[in-house]
């Protein structure tokens, strides 16, 4: 993974010093609330319903075991001993004290971490595929580009006060696991007809009140032009994006208003003026960035042997077989698999882990996976390089720490925002809904039979739980001061991205699991053999689901 050099260390240290001074000025009254707001936000600090919340950046989701251990210490020292993984691959602390935040940031800086630009109207943490570098369907590893984008976007002097937040995601594989079409800019690594490596650029995607699927604004961008082109997009947005209404300030609204073509032309114009500037990437810089991510410690294995061993172990233990089928992912190197640790056993808020679990992840990473772990967009953890021979042992270890729930990709592996239990913007709680659904659908055979199914829950239309991208989306709404839930169907964050559509009138919290059960009944009755929920939905449409859910009792 990327390692800081003196430049990075200096910058992050100076940032901590700057924020220490700002916090002091705020506490002494020299900075007022309004002035302190953007400063604390750009250092990841929100003031939430119950306490401040600190969002710590995990660049493109990658963590070392040393960083995980430091996070564990921080949660013990400054918080209540747990942390929360977010859908943007970051980590949140829910109970820090404002006065402690400069110290927390200093502790993070020692392990090459920070909370810079995890909030506020600036360029946020760049996200990517949790299987980057190991996936079989990958063209090239997206992480070197993510790191180059991280450096370009961090402390960018021109883009710290944009009209609104700005999110970039990069995908290097044919299956989009980074939901790039739901980002302000989505970067898809491609090859052109000449076989040259480059990028297809999407822009204007985003969720929230006005969900939009991003559109292609450039079919092919040469590799060395990545940063100058991103710079041109953000520059045009900074000039033209609306600032009169925060709900209309995202780039998606600008692109809708101008039209994608006119927007692309504006970017092209701006870019033509700057494309040959110093921001043009050099071959050396690209090779240097790639050097940090080329994992070369793989052992070689006789695949027939390791596969046979796995089959035997799976034959002997149904529980292991289930876990293997759901929680492991094929690796490009023979004899290895990537493994997902589920943070979603029933009854635990999705994405929450304790300090001991953070240390357990570090331990597992050290023992089995080159000391590295990744946070996934679905709020789980991936250890990307586990030897197949050791999977059985790994599974036993993971189980002890509560990470082996074999539900990855199933209905109960849901994305869920913190909702009304923590978030001051919420219309409704989301965690209890997730739990009620997990309790109702606890039969693994049934879940496996349903197959891959994304269920996403947000506590309000800010959509942190990506409900628009759920095959089934659940949105908390306020109905005359009471918490209600709207069901949506047909969303997807994949390369076939689509937005879920509202099914009809909303339901009370108690009704939600029963409604989900009816939706699943329709699916099970109508599906073709092995068809996935999303495909059945697209084939038969919303009507059969509506009829069942809103049928008058006879």
């Amino acid at each position: 993974m990327y390692r800081y050099d003196e430049t990075d260390h200096t910058l992050i240290r100076e940032r901590v010093a700057q924020f220490r001074d700002q916090t002091k000025r705020y506490l002494s009254g020299a900075l007022n609330e309004e002035q302190f707001l953007p400063l604390r936000l750009q250092n990841g600090l929100y003031i939430q319903r119950l306490a401040p919340m600190l969002r710590i950046a995990v660049p493109y989701g990658l963590l070392s075991s040393a960083q995980l251990r430091r996070l564990a210490e921080i949660t013990r020292k400054y918080d209540k001993g747990y942390a929360h993984f977010t859908t943007r691959q970051n980590v949140q602390l829910n109970w820090p004290q404002l006065e402690d935040v400069p110290d927390i940031l200093a502790d993070l800086a020692e392990v090459e971490m920070h909370a810079v630009q995890t909030s506020g109207n600036c360029i946020r943490n760049t996200t990517t595929d949790q299987f980057a570098g190991v996936a079989q369907d990958e063209l090239v590893d997206p992480r070197p580009y993510c790191e180059l984008i991280r450096q370009w976007s961090t402390f960018h002097p021109e883009f710290a006060f944009l009209p609104r937040k700005f999110k970039i995601a990069v995908c290097g594989a044919s299956n989009d696991r980074a939901a790039i079409r739901a980002h302000d800019i989505g970067v898809q690594i491609v090859k052109n007809a000449q076989g040259e490596l480059g990028f297809q650029i999407f822009a204007g995607g985003g969720l929230g009140r006005t969900p939009v699927i991003g559109v292609v604004i450039r079919e092919f961008l040469a590799e060395q032009d990545l940063l100058s082109y991103l710079d041109a997009i953000v520059r045009v947005y900074n000039q033209l994006g609306r600032r009169d209404n925060k709900y209309k300030a995202r780039i998606k609204i600008l692109i809708k208003a101008m039209g994608a073509e006119a927007f692309a032309e504006r970017v092209e114009e701006a870019w033509q003026q700057s494309k040959n500037n110093a921001d043009k990437l050099t071959d050396d810089a690209i090779a240097w960035a790639k050097g940090f991510f080329s994992q070369c410690n793989y052992r070689s294995f006789d695949n027939t042997h390791t596969e046979a061993l796995l089959q035997k172990q799976a034959g002997e233990s149904k529980a292991f077989a289930r876990w293997l089928a759901r929680n492991s992912f094929p690796h490009r190197v023979a004899g290895y698999r990537a493994v997902t640790l589920s943070t979603k056993p029933t009854g635990v808020p999705p994405g929450d882990v304790t300090d001991h679990q953070l240390e357990a992840i570090a331990e597992l990473a050290d023992r089995y996976s080159f000391g590295e772990a990744r946070v996934t967009h679905e709020q789980n953890i991936v250890l990307a390089d586990v030897e197949q021979e050791k999977l059985f042992e790994f599974w036993q270890d993971a189980r002890k720490h509560g990470f082996a729930t074999p539900n990855i990709g199933t209905l109960t592996d849901m994305i869920c925002c913190p909702g009304g239990d923590y978030c001051s913007l919420a219309n409704a709680k989301s965690i209890p809904v997730a739990e009620a659904i997990q309790r109702k659908f606890d039969d693994l055979d049934y879940l496996y039979d349903l197959g891959d199914l994304d269920l996403n829950i947000s506590g309000c239309m800010n959509a942190c739980g990506h409900h628009h991208l759920g095959h089934i989306g659940i949105l908390g709404v306020d109905k005359r001061g009471e918490e209600f839930y709207q069901l949506q169907l047909g969303g997807s964050g994949s390369e076939q991205a689509s937005l879920a559509k509202v099914l009809g009138p909303s339901f009370s919290r108690e009704e939600v699991p029963g409604v989900v059960a009816k939706l699943l009944d329709v699916f099970v009755e109508r599906r073709l053999p092995d068809e996935l929920f999303i495909d059945t939905y697209h084939r038969i449409g919303a009507q059969p689901f509506k009829e069942r859910v809103y049928a008058k009792p006879s």
Binding site: L11, Q35, F155, P157, Q239, Q273, A278, A285
Partner: protein, 190 residues
């Protein structure tokens, strides 16, 4: 996006106050420029002869109308861009100007960072680039990096106390007006 010239432009927000002292090139100095605010709705367009003598900063909308006639006073005419006016309005004409001020009607409105960068990077503007309005102390480093060298601060704190904030960071990742090379062209890449 040059918009049609409108002599009576509506202010984007509170207008520049043009304080008596400001920071230029890292030092606190007296402000020897007079600044003309935007014309009020029923104020008539002034003639060149009616403009005050001495160093004068005009709203860009007014300057664009009077530009030809003012060429004889070139060394003492500057312009200011409102928060919602883009650098392209001045473009290459910047070469005629000893001073361009960019106004921040609120600290959260970051358009001025782009205007400054465009003037310096695209048009090669060399003169004084002055930030006016409601920017914050904590934005000084970024403002400087985008090419501002003068800061007409309205925030009330003594100007001396702000100087350190011009150098909150001694390093940078990006190329900008203060640093021609991004970090990937400066690092030993091995």
């Amino acid at each position: 996006m040059p918009s049609p010239v409108n002599s009576h432009k509506t202010p984007a927000g509170p207008q520049p106050q043009n304080p008596a002292e400001l920071i230029v090139d890292g030092a606190v100095v007296a402000n020897d420029w007079h600044l003309l605010q935007l014309l009020g709705e029923d104020e008539p367009l002034p003639t060149v002869a009616a403009l005050p003598a001495g160093k004068l900063i005009l709203p860009v909308s007014l300057w664009l109308l009077l530009r030809q006639e003012l060429l004889s006073r070139q060394q003492e005419i500057g312009v200011w861009l409102d928060s919602d006016e883009s650098a392209e309005l001045i473009g290459d004409h910047g070469a005629e100007l000893p001073l361009i001020a960019i106004h921040f009607c609120s600290f959260a409105d970051g358009r001025g960072f782009t205007s400054a960068s465009i003037l310096r990077q695209r048009y090669g503007y060399q003169g004084e680039l002055r930030a006016t309005g409601r920017f914050m102390q904590d934005q000084l480093t970024y403002l400087r990096r985008c090419g501002f060298n003068a800061f007409a601060f309205e925030g009330g704190a003594p100007l001396d106390s702000l100087l350190d904030s011009l150098q909150d960071f001694s390093e940078s990742y990006q190329a900008a007006s203060d640093q021609p090379l991004p970090v990937f062209r400066r690092r030993p890449l091995c």
